[in-house]
């Protein structure tokens, strides 16, 4: 007989190394280029906003869990990711109380109310942003151009200093588009959405490590390009301006709030693309990424149900 205790558990007895925790921290890493870009273009204030948001998210998660006597799960990194993502969607001019409140709202109302990680139907960071936008619409739409981009701004007769490129277009302003500047991120906009380059680096990192499924960003960005061509917009502008790349790689790919089936994910991406372009072109706001993703989040359970894959050798019941 065995003198020592051994573990008797159900098979399989081996597990791959990737854990939830590791995935979340990889997402944080993938966002670091965008963080650096935001600090480069918007200065130390960008870092302050990010820190306020992340700390508020983590502390709120811990506080709520302690209050509800649930196990404290801040170690899994998901709250930090939410805080970080929210911060990257804020204009660099917001008072620091906004990221604090927004992140707290995102975690408490966007996530914990539903039972915590895995049970929230809507992307918490976007819930936080929507909350801030509804409560402080002015503060949330006061943009600032990075100092280095002012030469371009001044060269444009019609451009207004407090707008984004998408805002200018929506107003019908004619501007000559500085695509390279937009690609690098030297542009007015939210902290983390301006530098397509930084976001793409992070997005490719996530794709390479198979953290995210290509179907969502490809479906999303592809649809935006097609739609832009259809409705006569400049596709490059539509791609680079606003929060599209941030949304397509980092928000629309949030596991919890997107479909689990491959087909469902593709449809999800396409749906986001359609909605984004509809809002941008015909809606009341210049930008539609956040709302599009939230709307598609709502459709996620349906998408899962509609796209149940045909199983190997599946035999239809009664068939």
């Amino acid at each position: 007989m065995l003198e020592t205790e051994v573990v008797v558990s159900a098979s399989p007895h081996i597990r791959q190394g990737v854990t939830t925790e590791r995935i979340m921290w990889m997402v944080v890493i993938s966002l670091l280029p965008a963080v650096f870009a935001s600090i480069t273009f918007f200065g130390g204030r960008a870092l302050l906003i990010i820190l306020c948001s992340v700390f508020s998210a983590v502390l709120t998660e811990a506080a709520v869990e302690i209050l509800l006597k649930r196990p404290v799960t801040v170690k899994d990194g998901s709250a930090a990711v939410t805080g970080l993502l929210l911060a990257l969607t804020l204009p660099p001019t917001v008072p620091l109380i906004l990221p604090v409140l927004g992140a707290a709202f995102a975690i408490a109302i966007g996530k914990q109310i539903f039972g915590g990680l895995g049970f929230n139907p809507l992307n918490p960071a976007l819930i936080g942003r929507a909350f801030l936008l509804a409560s402080w619409p002015d503060l949330m739409t006061t943009w600032k151009w990075p100092a280095a981009s002012l030469t371009w701004l001044e060269s444009q007769a019609d451009a207004v200093a407090g707008a984004t490129v998408l805002g200018l277009i929506k107003e019908g302003t004619t501007v000559q588009l500085p695509f390279l500047q937009m690609f690098l991120g030297n542009m007015s906009g939210s902290l983390g959405e301006t530098s397509a380059l930084a976001l793409l680096v992070g997005g490719l990192f996530l794709l390479a490590y198979q953290i995210i499924d290509w179907r969502i960003p490809v479906g999303y960005l592809g649809t935006v390009i097609l739609m832009a061509l259809l409705v006569g917009e400049n596709p490059l502008l539509q791609l680079l301006a606003g929060g599209l790349i941030l949304g397509a790689f980092f928000m629309a790919t949030d596991y919890v709030t997107t479909p689990v089936t491959p087909k469902g994910r593709l449809i999800f991406g396409i749906g986001c693309g359609l909605l984004t372009m509809l809002i941008r072109k015909y809606g009341g706001f210049p930008e539609g990424v956040g709302y599009s993703i939230l709307l598609m989040n709502v459709a996620t359970p349906l998408l899962d149900r509609w796209t149940i894959p045909k199983r190997f050798g599946e035999v239809k019941a009664n068939g």
Partner: protein, 439 residues
């Protein structure tokens, strides 16, 4: 080069290097063997010896009871000291014949090779399969001869031997293919005749080039094709293997014969080959004893009924306090807590993990990452099985096709939240079956 395979699945660390190149050693005769009457699926065998009887190696000690059953042979010579319930891999006590060794090897006189293959009819070959006590040696232990009687209207086209050995750690099939390719091919030729099939196929993962070469050589000029398969789990799962080898999809709930295929393990074919060559029934098998928790890992030829402790002792015992003892491979094999269990017809390995290798059983909520969906070879949605099973919502798990799941464990292997999906799936299936019975 692209090799044949199936869709989805996972790439597992093989962990086979400890034993892959170690030739098979013969475990010295054990002092005692415990031979459970239930080593195969179907009716247990019925003893034809009594306590106190002297038995010889290879002598029949229990008769098959009916068609779906197998006889049992003494694996050592000596004296029957007990016929009583003994610990069994299933966790239950199962009646077993216990033989104490006489210290020598006295072979039963009736053991002689059957007539040559050319002189045997299909019917006779099927009888011999049963006579030899052949059961699937890949783990399932289904009586082999039963597969050779196709239902009316069905014909066997291919006999497909499973040499994939896709479970990590295990190398006994690998060694068998390298060292006993001739027996495998002889067994397969006999199986082709028994099933009146046209062609033999042998699927082997390409991480075993020496096995592929040995089989190729042994099969030269015969209607047998050796198929290199991609190294991917669960390549050796019956329906995935059939798909990889033939492109045919076995419908859910149906047997391989539905698409004209019979699958046997290479070890089963080798045992049949050996029986035809020598008349020796199934009384021993190859077992891989390995893992970081084993002092000197080995591929061993072990007499059936040998207790795990005797096998482990021969391998130098544990390196340290063992963390987990697995019978078979780590993906599907059951963990055990006692060492007085016998090696049976379906026992392919003993894998011992160290304490450090055993993860805490803590798990988190489903984060809907979809990784399990991405790997399930049956294209199921394991996350929903897990979610609904957790709350006993059995109607939903059934709707999501839980009975199409073949319990390969891939979903559980990849889950970053460490959810015990396979366990939840098995529990849910059991509950549904129980309610069907009572309902």
């Amino acid at each position: 080069m692209r090799f044949r395979t199936f869709k989805k699945g996972v790439y597992l660390p093989g962990n086979k290097e400890r034993t892959a190149s170690l030739p098979v050693e013969v475990l010295p005769l054990p002092r005692q063997v415990v031979l459970p009457l239930r080593q195969h699926i179907g009716a247990p065998a019925e003893p034809v010896v009594a306590v106190g009887d002297e038995v010889l190696t290879g002598q029949k000690i229990a008769e098959a009871k009916g068609k779906v059953s197998l006889p049992l042979h003494a694996s050592i010579s000596g004296k029957v000291v007990a016929i009583e319930p003994r610990p069994h891999v299933s966790g239950e006590l199962v009646p077993a014949i216990v033989i104490e060794s006489d210290g020598t090897e006295r072979m039963a006189p009736e053991l002689h090779a059957p007539p040559r293959l050319e002189e045997l009819s299909a019917e006779q070959l099927k009888e011999l399969m049963q006579e030899a006590g052949l059961a699937g040696m890949g783990g399932a232990a289904f009586p082999t001869h039963v597969k050779y009687d196709p239902p009316p209207g069905k014909k066997i086209e291919y006999i497909l031997l499973n040499g994939a050995e896709c479970e990590p750690y295990l190398t006994c099939d690998h060694r068998l293919m390298v060292e006993r390719a001739d027996d495998i091919i002889l067994g397969l030729m006999a199986m082709l005749k028994a099933g009146q099939a046209t062609k033999g196929l042998i699927g082997v993962e390409v991480n075993k080039p020496d096995a592929l070469a040995a089989l190729e050589k042994a099969a030269t000029g015969l209607p047998i094709e050796v198929l290199p398969l991609k190294v991917k789990y669960p390549q050796g799962e019956e329906k995935m293997l059939i798909y990889a080898a033939t492109g045919r999809v076995v419908p859910a709930g149906a047997l391989p014969i539905e698409v004209g295929v019979v699958v046997n393990n290479v070890a089963t074919a080798a045992a049949f080959g050996e029986y035809l060559r020598t008349g020796k029934p199934l009384i021993s098998r190859l077992v891989t004893v390995t893992g970081a928790g084993i002092k000197s890992p080995k591929n061993l030829e072990v007499r059936l009924g040998t207790l795990l402790e005797d096998v482990l002792n021969y391998c130098g015992g544990f390196t340290d306090a063992p963390g987990r003892i697995i019978l078979g491979g780590p993906m599907t094999g059951p963990a055990q807590y006692r060492l007085d269990l016998p090696v049976m017809k379906g026992t392919s390995g003993i894998v011992v993990q160290t304490r450090a290798e055993v993860e805490k059983p803590d798990y988190g909520p489903c984060i809907r990452c979809g990784k399990c969906v991405d790997v399930c070879p049956y294209n199921a949605l394991p996350n929903y099985f897990g979610l609904y099973a957790e709350h006993d919502r059995l109607a939903e798990v059934e709707k999501y096709g839980i009975f199409d799941c073949r319990e390969c464990g891939s979903c559980t292997y990849v889950c970053p939240s460490r959810r015990p999906l396979l366990q939840l799936i098995k529990d849910a299936k059991r509950k549904i079956m129980a309610s069907r019975k009572t309902g």
